[in-house]
């Protein structure tokens, strides 16, 4: 039934809106509340945005969290390029982004943040990359859009903005007001 619905959607429209600006704001606030339930004042917790597309979400989350709890929260950016499992299996090397983790993560709780969870391979690489900065007490994963039934590795998110049923040929496009004009998250049908 679900599969038919997806196919119907795929044929019926080229682009489906998953989040608009308002819904995104509500979702970020809800995710923040969930984080606070588990991490309290964030003294022992750090937020790590995954490069390149998890960084803006991480910054939005931290800004909102700081508004709510009124203290500074440690935020860093983690690039997983050198830990990917598809290096040398692509036509050309992937250009790395900046890793900026200005604190130790030894014995701290880490919340990894990314925009879309698809195959799970970049999260696997991120778990590898984390080891270079110490042994965290606990690692959690926060995802804005969780694409169901597409995983290549057994990775699941701890906090999810929204789950969607998708097929492989579809793509989730996340637009931020910082880089595009407006906040919008789209599900797009690509030509096979």
């Amino acid at each position: 039934m679900g599969v038919f619905f997806i196919y119907f959607c795929a044929i019926a429209m080229q682009k489906r809106l998953l989040f608009d600006s308002e819904l995104l704001q509500i979702t970020i606030s809800r995710l923040c509340q969930q984080l606070i339930e588990n991490h309290g004042d964030f003294k022992e917790t750090v937020i790590l945005g995954l490069q390149p597309r998890g960084t803006l979400l991480a910054q939005r989350l931290v800004a909102r969290l700081e508004e709510i709890i009124g203290t500074n929260i440690s935020i860093g950016f983690l690039d997983t390029t050198f830990y990917r499992d598809d290096f040398r299996r692509r036509d050309e090397p992937i250009q790395a982004n900046k890793t900026d983790i200005p604190f130790l993560i030894e014995d701290r709780n880490v919340v990894l943040v990314d925009d879309v969870l698809f195959t799970g391979r970049s999260v696997r690489a991120a778990l590898d990359a984390l080891n270079a900065f110490g042994r965290p007490a606990k690692v959690e994963l926060l995802i804005l859009v969780d694409r169901l039934y597409t995983r290549h590795v057994p990775v699941e998110a701890t906090y999810v903005g929204r789950q969607v049923n998708t097929i492989d040929s579809q793509k989730v496009l996340v637009e931020w007001s910082e880089t595009n004009k407006k906040d919008n998250v789209w599900l797009i049908n690509r030509e096979e």
Binding site: D79, T81, F82, Y83, F87, R88, R90, D91, E92, P93, I94, Q95, A96, N97, K98, T99, D100, L104, D128, N131, A132, F133, G134
Partner: protein, 308 residues
């Protein structure tokens, strides 16, 4: 664009500006990696690299080996002394035998100019030139220009003098190509006997007076007198060379401006440069060494990405 236009790194002459900037950008990432608590990434875990050194080297060899190990590559080392080369084996045979052991990348230093190019034409592996005679030393020039970029913000428009034994230097030629590609002005300075006859045709200024050269430049790259390559006397004595072409504190203090001092090593203290200058705040010699590892990691990473 995220790949180099060349399959091998034989010389700076084969690189364009985009290639060099890509190497710099990748080196920025690796510099951050080598300053982490755990300095290793698994990128090249399925790559085997042979370091084949037919000539003595400390810095370059250590730097390449460290770069390879930081990238998790398997490394084998070969040096000509104590090997079958002494028994009369040819370069091609030696390398083919090493390749039979399934090596993906060969880092080679050789006293003959063109040895890496010869290998690149004859064997099926990625070749990285770690210095071929008096011809090129591309990774040194990359790390030198990278260090200038790091210290000054950019290379474009900077005035750089390369000082000393230009005639026997592979560092000089590679540096000239790299600096010019990135938009710097280059001058070579040294005793007339140690400057190649037609060096001006490379588009560099030529000067014999050290003071005039230092007054002109923003950065001075001081080269070692390569006694091992000099089959005749090019100047009366080291003492005289030091007196007329050595860089010392008094000379630097008498300039109207502050300049940056670089040296590719090994330093002959008291000959081309005095200890107080080499160890001063003006000198970025040790930064060059640190950047060398990051640059070599970047080069190996970008080249290995093209292995099937």
């Amino acid at each position: 664009m995220s790949h180099l236009k060349t399959k091998h790194l034989l010389g700076i002459k084969n690189l364009n500006k985009e290639d060099i900037l890509l190497i710099f950008q990748t080196a920025d990432n690796f510099k951050e990696v080598i300053n982490r608590p755990i300095k290793k990434v698994p990128s090249l875990r399925d790559v085997t690299i042979a370091n084949i050194f037919f000539e003595n080297s400390t810095r370059t060899k250590l730097s390449f080996e460290l770069a390879e190990k930081r990238l998790s590559a398997d490394v084998i080392n070969f040096s000509a002394s104590g090997s079958s080369v002494k028994k009369g084996e040819t370069l091609l045979d030696t390398v083919n035998n090493i390749l039979a052991m399934k090596v993906d990348i060969v880092v080679i230093r050789h006293s003959s100019p063109g040895a890496p190019h010869f290998l690149a034409n004859h064997i099926d592996a990625i070749i990285v030139n770690a210095g071929d005679g008096t011809h090129e030393h591309p990774t040194q020039a990359l790390l030198d220009t990278y260090s200038i970029r790091e210290k000054c913000g950019e290379v474009n428009g900077k005035k750089v003098v390369i000082l000393g034994d230009i005639l026997h230097s592979r560092v000089a030629l590679s540096n000239i190509f790299a600096l010019q590609t990135l938009g710097a002005e280059v001058m070579v300075c040294g005793p007339a006997t140690l400057l190649p006859k037609h060096v001006g045709e490379l588009g560099v200024l030529v000067e014999n007076d050290v003071r005039a050269a230092l007054e002109w430049c923003d950065i001075a790259n001081v080269l070692r007198i390569q006694l091992e390559r000099q089959e005749m006397r090019y100047f009366p004595s080291l003492r005289e060379y030091s007196k007329f072409f050595g860089i010392n504190r008094e000379l630097l203090d008498s300039l109207k401006k502050e300049i940056i001092i670089m040296h590719p090593g090994p330093i002959n203290r008291g000959v081309e440069i005095t200890s107080d200058v080499a160890d001063s705040d003006h000198s970025i010699i040790l930064q060059q060494v640190e950047n060398g590892v990051a640059i070599r990691m970047a080069v190996l990473y970008l080249l290995a990405g093209r292995v099937d």
